[in-house]
Amino acid sequence: MTIEIKPAKASCNYQELVKHDRVHTSLYTDSAIFDDEMEKVFYSTWVWVGHASEIPEAGSFKTTYIGKQPVIVARDRKMKVHVLLNRCRHRGATVCEHKKGKTASFVCPYHGWSYATDGSLRGVPHPEGYADILEKGDHPLVGLRVEEYAGMIFATFKDDIEPLDSYLGPAKKWMDLFMKQGGGYPIKAGNAHRFRFPGNWKIQLENTTDAYHFPLVHKSFLSSVDQQTLDMLDFVEGAGYVEDLGNGHSVMVMIPELVDLEANLDAPIPTRFEELAQQLREKHSEEEVRRIVRAVGGSGFNLNLFPNIACSMAFFRVLQPIAVDQTEIHHVVLTMDGGPEEANRARLRMHEHFQGPMGFGTPDDSEAWERVQKGASAGQDLWILLNRGLPKEVKTADGLRSDVSAETGMRAAYQQWKKLMTA
């Protein structure tokens, strides 16, 4: 079903605000642009809504947002995934207020209208008040178009845009590589750290492929790891790279040896995983031990999928715009479904060490972003400079590539942003 969205009045010329190597600060501060973004970006393209493992069984569901619209992601009796507007077709109440769960139906608490997990309207109490003017078939929970790749579930309001497969394009092979951190087990998307920062969503979007900030902002994290890990994370002048994959997507490869987690499993096991390897040897073959331990460390890259999801080293980063100067971020921990407890514990502890409001990494990122938003209110006609890495940028089979600390990823995202905002 096509959802009609009336285009918002274009109050500014987006062609002028996004140049090849810089974008106008109003993109962070103008709430009219934010409102326009909801229509032209979040309600006009493929938006990530969940991972298949979050809704594993018939009747499983989670609630989330697409832009500012509350939605339910549900798996019906036949195991098909639906993304439904969380809004009763009677008088507009949300029909589900739980973050996740399992149900046979969604019942509106106001007048008891009852919907199946595929969104169809099944029950209307006291139907005699409608006689024959209410056709239940005309009033399901509104369903969006849903497609999935590598367990990643995306939805769109648009029936006429390209399929997810071609929207993702070259990003698909990176998603496949990322999922190898299941170590032979299915990936399980678990709990998440949720936090908000007082800044625009695009500030966080840019940060996902920003190697340049890592040694400084994350100095305190680097001070808390062993020497071997420290050397591994000293990647700014290393052999990594950033690549524009088209459609706003990009990948930042920090540690090339960890792009394919199954490659070169004979390499020595890092010191920090030796104890874990010993524990695993009690029940697993040496080959399995090496595959699992390698997977525990996560991938050596951040894949940024425009507009709202990143596969980032060992976790999913979800961004949710709240207002022009307020964004909610989720860092979803990933474990091995059915995998060894010790390996999963290592993943949890690693995630706790860096991520979340009490991690050694996230609060410093958040501080930097907060300061960007604050500084953005200074000056009337200043620009966000995104020209790093341009001189050595080269064309590749998939797009454009430059050194790991280049701002190629940001440029990729803003070109897609401009394309959608001027469509």
Partner: protein
């Protein structure tokens, strides 16, 4: 009701709170047993902290690292350091067996940093081990009332 014990544990817990509010971190580290764990769960109903995701699950090494980070100046979210003033109250002995005492209390913490005041309210459950005429902390589990909501950075020790 063993009001003597309640007096003793509340004095100990108040002392811990005062140490944290006044930056006496080495003294705070010395309050713990060797295997003690400082845990801040996301799901307030969770009981299996080892196998689920928390905001913090700190053994001795992690507590030391956390304290180091607060003072090193390397973390921009700790500069300026937040001022905290916390109160603990509503002490209830949940169990006493041998030298182990489990006590639950309510903590209200006020944080001030960069023109902003924030409040964090939590149930805090301590497992204390009687040591000499005082105690050591073997478990401190902090369940924020809004633990599963979207928080902001907490750049100090709760």
């Amino acid at each position: 009701m063993n009001t003597n014990l309640i007096t003793q544990v509340s004095a100990f817990i108040w002392q811990e709170a005062d140490m944290l509010d006044h930056g006496e971190f080495q003294s705070w580290l010395d309050l713990w047993t060797a295997d003690g764990l400082y845990i801040i769960p996301i799901d307030p109903l969770e009981t299996d902290f080892l196998n689920t995701l928390n905001y913090a699950y700190d053994n001795h090494a992690m507590r030391e690292k956390r304290v180091y980070r607060l003072g090193s100046g390397e973390s921009i979210s700790t500069v300026p350091t937040a001022r905290t003033i916390r109160t603990t109250s509503r002490f209830r002995i949940l169990s006493e067996a041998g030298d182990r005492v489990t006590v639950r209390c309510a903590q209200n913490l006020c944080e001030f940093k960069k023109e902003t005041i924030r409040h964090y309210t939590a149930d805090v459950t301590f497992e204390l081990v009687k040591t000499g005429d005082s105690f050591r902390i073997d478990r401190k589990v902090i369940r924020l009332i809004n633990a599963d909501d979207a928080l902001q950075g907490i750049a100090y020790i709760l």
